[in-house]
């Protein structure tokens, strides 16, 4: 493919994908004095154009025609529940919604902005310390990240300052300072902005959770509670809880996005060039496959172009990163039969279920008010915050009211309480009551990694450029189902304390396979994980390919297993962590940073 390709002038760094990870890496590399080309397959996007009020807040276009999301007609994945099945194409957007265009999903994400819990970073070690190696179920590939919370702390802090994150700390420099999450580790500094106000449902949930004896806290939100100027000089306005958050560019410039928080500054840098509409086909390697020489892509006119570079950074999103590694021959593909190889191994998702609580009809829950990252959570059953010994499962789940703004089409389609017809007068009565007087509570659980859950290339289906689609082999496992069921019962306790008129606890069912037709979340992870053992990780602890040292791969692909939290705070911290080591070590001594 590259033989007849046009060759461009070499640059220092080529970055594949213009989302959070790509924008952070580009900013860092230009700060280090390197020339950077960032290639983004989707169109150019800006908050000024794509977030212009009122045209931008069109629920049909944003949430049901997926205006800002990946163009599946060109490229998708195939999915199956187990390796005996034929995987079939994910033809219509449903279970997960990958982003596309400048800013990536970062333009229209929600904003829940977490740090990874210390125990989750060393989960294998921690579980063995607490419960013994036998506690780990057969077939579960439980691993450590190879990096500690203490090492990452400065980069979590940096990401929060760049994102303008609102929240209340619990502990700063070892001192208890506020009513934040009692299970969260000490921080070097406060959140840059105070927590967002609680919407009514979150307020009721906080009171009830406290009454039951749990430890509620304000969700850390990359939705600015006040006006803010970040360390790059980018400005944010105060969030007005508009309710058009998830799936929308923020017309108030309040939701952190690469487009608001990084790109306005980056685009003025003389060493930086952004090329939109450029779909990268593969990373080019030298003859012995040990060094990347650049990337090949199709430009907006459909021409195949090669961009030579000293360094390639993949930031194309979790599964696109894995696919590009497989298409380029970077790292050994995973073989589930022998549990060998690393690219595609430990593919994970997020184990979320949403329960519903109906309050008295005199109470308006105003579900249309909300911010994507706002709400109240408790972590009493997340991570290693509770004793798993008698429960017999690995993993946990924060529980929260995260009312991002429920709009009319979504409300109509989710309907009334279970048992209500989906149409007709009974549906109408049910949906009106549900919209006006109910609220939603999520168990946002971790999904563990398993030997027979993985990513590889599909043998049959191709994308618009003739390259094989990525194949997902994924199903829910008993360990994770048991975890979900246990935590969802705790939601029942809180709902009772809220004075619920009716409760619908939604739990994962044993034997019910992963359903690609139902929206769950876009928190996909793993597949090219970080670690200290090249036998079980594709990347070293600096997110550098073990095999091709001038390729770094940044994204949730690096998570060895799932976590109860949303991924982006960790992705951003990993980007700053990798960038720090590239800047301080790699640029002067190119070569493996670990080994």
């Amino acid at each position: 493919m590259s033989d007849d390709a046009r060759r461009l002038h070499p640059v220092d760094v080529v970055i594949v994908g213009g989302g959070w990870a790509g924008s952070i890496m580009a900013k860092e590399m230009t700060e280090a004095g390197r020339s950077v080309v960032m290639l983004e397959r989707g169109p150019y996007r800006s908050t000024a154009a794509d977030g212009a009020y009122p045209a931008s807040i069109d629920e049909l276009e944003a949430n049901f025609r997926y205006k800002l999301f990946q163009d599946l007609s060109k490229n998708t994945v195939t999915i199956r529940n187990n390796s005996q099945q034929t995987a079939l194409p994910y033809r219509r957007m449903a279970a997960f919604l990958p982003g596309e265009g400048v800013g990536g999903a970062g333009l229209h994400w929600s904003g829940v902005h977490f740090r990874m819990p210390p125990d989750d970073l060393r989960l294998r070690t921690r579980v063995i310390e607490k419960y013994g190696a036998k506690f780990i179920p057969e077939g579960m590939n439980l691993q450590d990240y190879g990096v500690s919370y203490e090492e990452l702390e400065p980069f979590f802090d940096k990401a929060e300052k760049v994102f303008g994150t609102s929240g209340e700390a619990y502990m700063v420099k070892g001192q208890v300072v506020g009513k934040g999450n009692v299970f969260s580790p000490s921080r070097s500094d406060h959140f840059p902005l105070p927590a967002l106000k609680d919407v009514y449902t979150a307020h009721l949930f906080r009171k009830a959770a406290e009454e039951v004896g749990f430890h509620p806290y304000s969700l850390p939100a990359a939705n600015a509670s006040r006006q803010y100027i970040n360390p790059y000089g980018a400005q944010m306005g105060p969030c007005n809880f508009c309710g058009y958050c998830s799936g929308y560019a923020c017309y108030m410039y309040s939701k952190a996005s690469p487009n608001v928080n990084i790109l306005p500054v980056l685009r003025r840098h003389p060493l930086f060039e952004l090329r939109a509409g450029c779909h990268v086909l593969k990373v080019e390697l030298d003859a012995d496959g040990r060094r990347a020489t650049g990337v090949t892509y199709t430009d907006p006119d459909g021409r195949v172009v090669t961009q030579p570079a000293e360094m390639v950074i993949l930031t194309a999103f979790q599964f696109h990163n894995v696919r590009l590694m497989l298409l380029s021959g970077i790292g050994r593909p995973y073989d589930p039969v022998h549990n060998e190889g690393v690219v595609g191994r430990n593919f994970v998702y997020q184990n979320v279920t949403t329960s519903n609580v109906w309050l008295d009809r005199s109470i308006d829950t105003n579900q249309y008010i909300g911010a994507g990252g706002g709400g109240v959570a408790f972590d009493d059953f997340n991570s290693e915050n509770f004793d798993h010994g008698p429960l017999g499962f690995v993993g946990g789940s924060p529980v929260w009211v995260n009312q991002a703004g429920v709009k009319a089409i979504a409300a109509a389609r989710s309907g009334g309480p279970p048992g209500t017809p989906r149409w007709g007068s009974a549906w109408k009565a049910g949906v009106i009551d549900t919209y006006r007087h109910s609220l939603r509570i999520d168990a946002h659980g971790a999904n563990m990694a398993y030997r027979d859950v993985y990513l590889d290339l599909d043998p049959t289906w191709k994308d618009a450029y003739g390259q094989p689609l990525l194949r997902m082999t994924f199903d829910w496992k008993d360990n994770d189902i048991r975890m979900n069921r246990y935590v969802v019962d705790r939601i029942g306790d809180v709902a009772k304390a809220m004075g619920a008129r009716r409760v619908n606890l939604t739990k994962r069912e044993f034997g019910k396979p992963f359903d690609t037709r139902q929206y769950q979340t876009t928190h996909l992870g793993g597949g090219a994980v970080m670690g200290n053992d090249p036998g079980t990780s594709a990347l070293n602890r600096y997110l550098q390919s073990w095999d091709v040292h001038n390729v770094f791969v940044i994204g949730a692909n690096a998570f060895p297993q799932g976590t109860g939290y949303n991924p982006t705070g960790m992705v951003a911290a990993l980007a700053y962590w990798a960038a720090h080591h590239i800047r301080t070590t790699y640029l002067s001594h190119p070569g493996p940073l670990a080994g």
Partner: protein, 216 residues
């Protein structure tokens, strides 16, 4: 842009209180044939009937919305991965037919009318409401198949578009007079609750507003 004409026209519907009319705004469909249009009107009227809780799909101009949607790239399958081979599998692995929304309507409506004719000697639109409901329930439960298309595929497409039509911004041709939003208690494009976020328990006093500034 087609929608703008519809938005102007809706002021006549607003004159009668919501829930008491099931007459749609006069509209000449561009995609649907007269027989298909008759089906669509009849089915919409059953899926969201006018009742004491608010207007039905007809007063909300849901059929017009669906016809207008049929002229968008979405309806030609431009947003779906439509490369073959098309292999059928378990339901939970999702939609696997080669048909775009326009094809689903063509085949689905023909299938529904054929079943109506076989069972009751008339097309769907000519049947009594109870018989129409039976057929819709049958389609919803998958008890029919239209060639290689299970009836659930058509039903789910129809129901999804009906909900979209009743509850999307009127710029798309449905939700006439903001009747869908008013019925639900959704303020539409207000999108500014800075002062409301912590007025716990207070009833939000403002009516709905649309993208074009229409209020209800």
């Amino acid at each position: 842009m087609q929608g703008l004409a519809g938005v102007t026209a809706c002021s006549t519907v607003l004159a009668s209180p919501p829930g008491h009319t099931s007459r749609p705004t006069p509209y000449a469909p561009r995609f649907f044939t007269p027989a298909e249009w008759a089906f669509l009107i009849a089915a919409c009227d059953r899926l969201i009937p006018a009742d004491e809780n608010g207007p039905g799909a007809l007063a909300l101009d849901v059929p017009r919305f669906i016809d207008m949607q049929m002229g968008t790239p979405y309806a030609s399958g431009a947003q779906w991965y439509m490369q073959g081979p098309f292999v059928q599998g378990p339901d939970n692995l999702g939609y696997q037919l080669p048909y775009a929304p326009r094809d689903l309507y063509r085949r689905g409506i023909a299938g529904m009318n054929a079943h109506a004719a076989t069972r009751h000697g008339r097309p769907f639109a000519g049947l009594a409401p109870a018989l129409q409901d039976d057929l819709l329930h049958g389609a919803e439960n998958g008890s029919m198949i239209f060639g290689d298309m299970p009836s659930t595929v058509f039903f789910d497409q129809l129901l999804a578009n009906v909900m979209e039509g009743a509850f999307s911004d009127p710029v798309h041709g449905g939700n006439t007079g903001l009747g869908g939003w008013t019925m639900l208690g959704f303020p539409g494009a207000r999108a500014d609750f800075m002062d409301w976020v912590d007025r716990y328990g207070a009833h939000y006093p403002l009516g709905s507003v649309s993208i074009s500034g229409e209020t209800a």
